[in-house]
Symmetry: C2
Subunit: 351 residues, 2 copies
DNA sequence: GTGAAAGCGCTAACAC
DNA sequence: GTGTTAGCGCTTTCAC
């Protein structure tokens, strides 16, 4: 750990290489970027010296001239949530295909943090930012946050999975309405009519959309809407799924099926259902969204709406890169969900 | 999304600000860094202009002179695993306390990717790199990887939660032996003597350490070591926990308690135990490591070894920053685990 | 094909 | 206090 020793490895620059190779820095730069032709023997000599000195080009210096950092910033709500970690990894893989790098910042539900992250990304001169979850999903956007968004979008492309309606953002959204359709078709097909909706906040766009479609479909199928079977204001974590579901059951409102806003909530709800003495799926079917690995971990395994993370990530990154390169991708794209049926849903029991 | 419009917001620089404010660029830089005093009225004028033009300092240019990017690179195995996402968020929070930023790269079990990540970080001139999981945990280090590590440590400090013995790395390791001690004390206190060990690969340092201590303690307490109760080569995911445990039970080897290498494996093992017709914890107790949120999600909730992520993250970041600042932190530090007792473990049944 | 020179946006002596 | 002057390491015209 001797500092001395570390310093002697001091930044080797293209000038050092150039001098020793008996060429100019420009030539070294040329072999580095392979943007122009260099005579083979010089190229070889340079390459060998780079190897010898463990030369690593300075991305900062490079970015200064390029105005292209090849870095995409991702601000997500919280990677500890499997949905976001799946999305992040999907983006990371997609980006590396294109020679881009991604950097992640978590907003952790804090508007200030989220703004700070955007600011950091701006300072870092990322080529684009992708916003997954967080404030961008709010139905009513925080004005402070909005101002920051305007500032960012004024300079670089921003793609979001959220709302940000009216902003100069590229949207790549999950078709939440379609997800609910798949769910309802499935449940109705199994004979369910007392279908609860659990979790989430209605001021979050995706949840709002889901709920809207849920009520619409009930009406469409002539099923009475029962407010007591709606456990909104639940949040997105297991605890709130547990609490919301528990409260509903405790009040004697027993559905035959429960739609959870995500797998986390579903897991909490399942626990609560069991503790109330019901069996899954015999007494109550449970169905949810995200199809994260959680869905396969629980018993019975969850029927869940799947978004095809890999594809989703590719769309996000692809859109960002096309925007960076001035190719004007569509302003709005939808991700088609599918339903993965497992064992947490079954035919409604004859009661 | 009109490109034209975006371009007109072209990079405002300190020179633009300086000119309009009627001061020199140096002065603008001074108010930016607040490293030196500037007359209040000039400062105000500059500040106002920065606001007006949404000036955002270019971190690349800044890093070019500073040789201090205020960025720490973290390479983790896979954020989709709760252990790593918890660690990452803990580091992110700790770093922001110190005015540092962290960037994440996932190695995803691929040596090539891991080397690439290190290389990227080097190019980005991060001030330090923190290695959590991945190749650094191997008992026998891949020579290619090792070379890259040497290259990195030759320039910037590297702190690792892994092995990397003999390298110029700062180690901040979990005291895995101590974790097993806590587990064994707990289990022995409950009367268990047929204790299985499930999951992990023995060529991973942390698993190796756990297993070593496990056999040591058995001997110490005069309990015969039963190889049939060891399900190594299991990996770290739910599937392998499920498979390994299933195989053991199928062969008629039924322990009274199972030590899982992490929560993921534990969840898989639990499923397998149930499917084999045993109850948890009445027939078989289950205990694991990591105490991730998974531990509280499952039924019964898992007794698990906790590492205090926040503190762990602070140690990692603190060590990195001290090293960056030339303060020579200790070469090796241990994280003390504790045991969180929940309901997956109980007194061994009278059989 | 290759070198010289300018410049990317900022910081840090160094004078005044 | 504040301006001037060098760079930081790289890319990129522009000549030759």
């Amino acid at each position: 750990m001797d500092k001395a020793k570390r310093n002697e490895g001091k930044a080797v620059t293209i000038y050092d290489i150039a001098k020793e190779a008996g060429v100019s820095a420009a030539t070294v730069s040329r072999v580095l970027t392979s943007n122009a032709n260099v005579r083979q023997d010089k190229k070889d000599k340079v390459l060998k010296l780079m190897e010898k000195y463990d030369f690593t080009p300075n991305a900062l210096a490079r970015g200064l001239t390029d105005t292209r950092s090849k870095v995409i910033g991702i601000v997500a709500a919280d990677v500890r949530n499997p949905f976001y970690s799946e999305m992040f990894v999907a983006c990371e893989l997609a980006a590396s295909e294109y020679g881009y790098m991604v950097v992640l910042g978590n907003s952790l539900g804090d508007t200030v943090r989220e703004k700070l992250q955007l600011e950091k990304f701006q300072e870092q001169r990322v080529d684009a930012v992708i916003q997954i979850g967080g404030r961008a999903d709010d139905m009513v956007l925080n004005p402070d946050y909005l101002e920051k968004v305007k500032q960012v979008t004024g300079r670089i492309p921003m793609v979001t999975t959220g709302n940000l309606e009216g902003q100069r953002c590229y949207q790549v959204r999950i078709d939440d309405g379609r997800g609910i359709e798949l769910i309802m078709e499935h449940l109705l097909g199994l004979g369910h009519r007392r279908i609860a909706f659990v979790g989430g906040w209605m001021d979050i766009a995706s949840t709002h959309d889901k709920f809207q479609r849920y009520t619409q479909l009930l009406k469409q199928y002539d099923i009475p809407f029962l407010p007591e079977l709606v456990g909104k204001n639940g949040g997105y974590d297991p605890e709130s799924g547990y609490a919301t579901m528990g409260a509903m059951l405790a009040q004697g409102h027993v559905p035959t099926a429960v739609i959870a806003v995500n797998d986390f909530t579903a897991v909490g709800a399942m626990k609560s259902i069991r503790e109330a003495g019901f069996r899954i799926p015999e007494d109550i079917s449970v169905i949810s969204h995200d199809n994260s690995y959680m869905a396969e971990l629980v018993t019975p395994m969850l029927t869940s709406v799947e978004y095809h993370y890999q594809h989703f990530g590719e769309m996000l990154i692809g859109t960002a890169i096309r925007a960076i390169e001035g190719q004007e991708p569509p302003a709005r794209q939808l991700v088609e969900p599918t339903l993965v049926v497992r064992s947490s849903t079954s035919i409604v029991r004859a009661s």
